[in-house]
């Protein structure tokens, strides 16, 4: 039973991270955009008066898209490719999640489980291959739509991906030189070490320039602002998805958010220590498991208290909001009491090595989820800060700035590695 569950766990996590985050991300995008622009954003959707800050909104959006008419423009000849295109975008975004390690390898009953949906060693190559595949869907959509705006959008997307994939590949090469491996899990394990004994050896600290280039190219790969020229509505209506409606459009939309989430996951894995909690790698956690449990027993109630205070301050404008706040306070308090009692019980009854492994795994998965959400927030934050690049500026940045910088970085890294003999 445990065996099957542990094998299925990474697949379940992949589905959670890719599909379940989409509505969350749509909600986050709209609320963060609103708060950045000094407004409130969609907060009216509710189920029996319970709003939860409007988190029901994406469900309403989805219902609308599902029940819209399945409309096919008459001029479309290649209907098969027309329908296939959003599927490719969606599928590619989904598949690039498969190699992300969500936690360190766990050994239970003498069997080592990889918390990775596809436990292969060539993780980063898989990501580069699949992430580049998504643009085939966009090209196919632009071509089969039989529409000038669509084909222009598709051409923009493909040329953008071509020019940025080079810089991205070169940035990844510097990471490969630094980590000396292509397995994502080994990379994350190396990032759990400490540099000079007090700095976490995260990728962004080891390779700041390559890290920056990788983040910029990841933005361009996902066609997100400020690199969303393929959807530039001021010139080409909606780009490659001009002719799409209803659920076919929703697939493009969800594919975009999933690609964003996948990019965040790979950025976190390469640059921000993956599932590693700063200063606490898996071995250290095994050594100090009691201390960590005690720390959790203090931190979780404090965080909950802060959240309750925030809720009472900002979510009590009228009667139903006050009721919601009251229920929320009661639920959180019950959760904290149960959580602390449970941890206290575990502490007093003694923590075995297996139990420690499982709890460390859960903590690492949660850390990874938190980091990915933070990176998604950065994606949203950047989108609502910068205007869209002009098309020639995109090409200029890609070919004349990022590629030479990435080459220079490889040169410096290689020289350092050879001279220092690391």
């Amino acid at each position: 039973m445990t065996h099957i569950f542990m094998i299925l766990l990474p697949i379940i996590l992949t589905v959670l991270f890719s599909l379940v985050t989409i509505p969350l991300l749509v909600w986050m995008e709209r609320r963060v955009a609103a708060l950045i622009q000094n407004r409130l954003g969609p907060n009216r959707c509710n189920i029996k008066g319970i709003r939860l800050g409007g988190i029901v909104q994406p469900i309403a959006d989805m219902m609308k898209l599902i029940f819209k008419e399945e409309f096919y423009p008459k001029h479309i000849k290649q209907k098969f490719y027309y329908i296939l295109a959003p599927g490719i975008v969606f599928g590619a975004a989904f598949l690039s999640f498969m190699v992300i390690p969500y936690a360190d390898d766990v050994t239970l009953n003498g069997f080592t489980y990889h918390i990775q949906a596809l436990p292969i060693e060539l993780g980063i190559l898989w990501f580069v291959a699949i992430a580049g595949l998504g643009v085939y869907g966009i090209i196919l959509a632009g071509w089969s739509s039989h529409n000038k705006y669509s084909i222009l959008g598709a051409l923009r997307a493909s040329s953008q991906v071509i020019s940025y994939e080079i810089a991205m590949g070169l940035a990844i090469v510097s990471f490969l030189i630094t980590y000396d491996t292509i397995s994502l899990n080994t990379m994350v394990q190396q990032q759990g070490e400490l540099l000079f004994g007090f700095i976490p050896a995260w990728g962004i600290i080891m390779q700041p320039l390559a890290g920056l280039i990788f983040i910029v190219t990841a933005f361009a790969e996902t066609n997100r602002a400020p690199f969303d020229a393929p959807e530039g509505e001021s010139e080409i209506v909606a780009g490659y998805h001009t002719e799409y409606s209803a659920m076919k459009f929703a697939l493009f939309f969800m594919g975009e958010y999933m690609a964003m989430s996948a990019s965040s996951a790979i950025i976190v894995t390469l640059l921000f220590g993956g599932y590693q909690i700063p200063f606490l790698n898996t071995e250290v956690m095994h050594h100090h498991i009691n201390l960590i449990f005690i720390g959790l027993m203090i931190i979780v109630p404090l965080l909950s208290l802060g959240f309750i205070k925030w809720m009472q301050k900002n979510n009590s404008s009228d009667e139903s909001r006050r009721r919601e706040t009251k229920y929320g306070t009661i639920l959180i308090t019950i959760f904290v009491i149960v959580f602390d009692t449970f941890l206290f019980y575990l502490l007093t009854s003694g923590i075995s090595y297996d139990l420690g492994s499982v709890s460390i795994m859960i903590m690492q998965i949660l850390t990874f989820a938190f980091k990915v959400m933070m990176m998604n927030f950065v994606f949203v934050w950047v989108r609502w800060t910068f205007p869209r690049f002009r098309y020639d500026q995109i090409q200029h940045l890609g070919w004349k700035i990022l590629i030479p910088l990435a080459l220079l970085n490889i040169f410096i890294t290689a020289t350092f590695v050879v001279l220092a003999g690391v």
Binding site: V32, L35, I36, Q37, N38, R39, L40, W310, K313, N314, S317, D318, W381, V382, W384, T385, F386
Partner: protein, 170 residues
């Protein structure tokens, strides 16, 4: 003639690298985000259906109204000045003789098609008797059919001004 030298920006290395511009832009939006998240009551937008706008000034042109004399009879003398001035031709007046001796003429019916109206206020300026005004402050006009948007004399007379000057002093 003096020559004004316009400074050219964007040529230094610091400006060309864009890093500082990027950082300062992102700092600004993050500051907005965190201050608004920490205290949503500071957000200047109003939650519309519950809280109504409080900044409607005397010059705001809302829904029209017909003013009354001190004896509560209609002030309009059906001179057709407003209908003539109206650029969207949305005022429809039918005149009749006024028999109570206060004046000679009065409107039998006075209709305004609010869907045609562009709320320019020319009718208010054209009126020689200060009989039509737009000081009701009504900005949201809701109806289920097109016909309901054509408001008649009774409705126009029942509208009230919100700035204290109820009856016309003209």
């Amino acid at each position: 003639m003096g020559v004004k030298v316009v400074p050219r920006y964007g040529n230094t290395l610091k400006e060309k690298s864009y890093i500082w511009a990027v950082v300062s832009g992102m700092r600004l939006t993050l500051k907005n985000f965190t201050t608004n998240l920490a205290d949503t009551s500071k957000i200047p937008t109003c939650e519309y259906p519950e809280s109504q706008p409080s900044d409607i000034t005397e010059r705001y042109r809302g829904m029209h109204r017909l003013t009354k004399r001190d004896d509560e009879s209609i002030r309009c003398v059906a001179c057709f000045m407003c209908a003539t001035a109206c650029p969207s031709e949305c005022i429809f007046i039918e005149a009749e003789e006024r028999l109570d001796g206060v004046d000679e003429k009065q409107p039998k019916s006075f209709k305004i098609d609010l869907l045609e109206c562009v709320f320019c206020g020319y009718c208010v300026e054209a009126c020689p008797c200060d009989a039509i005004r737009m000081d009701t402050g009504i900005f949201s006009i809701i109806a289920a059919t097109r016909e309901e948007f054509v408001i008649d004399k009774e409705k126009l007379l029942s509208n009230r001004g919100i700035f204290g000057k109820e009856n016309s002093r003209a």
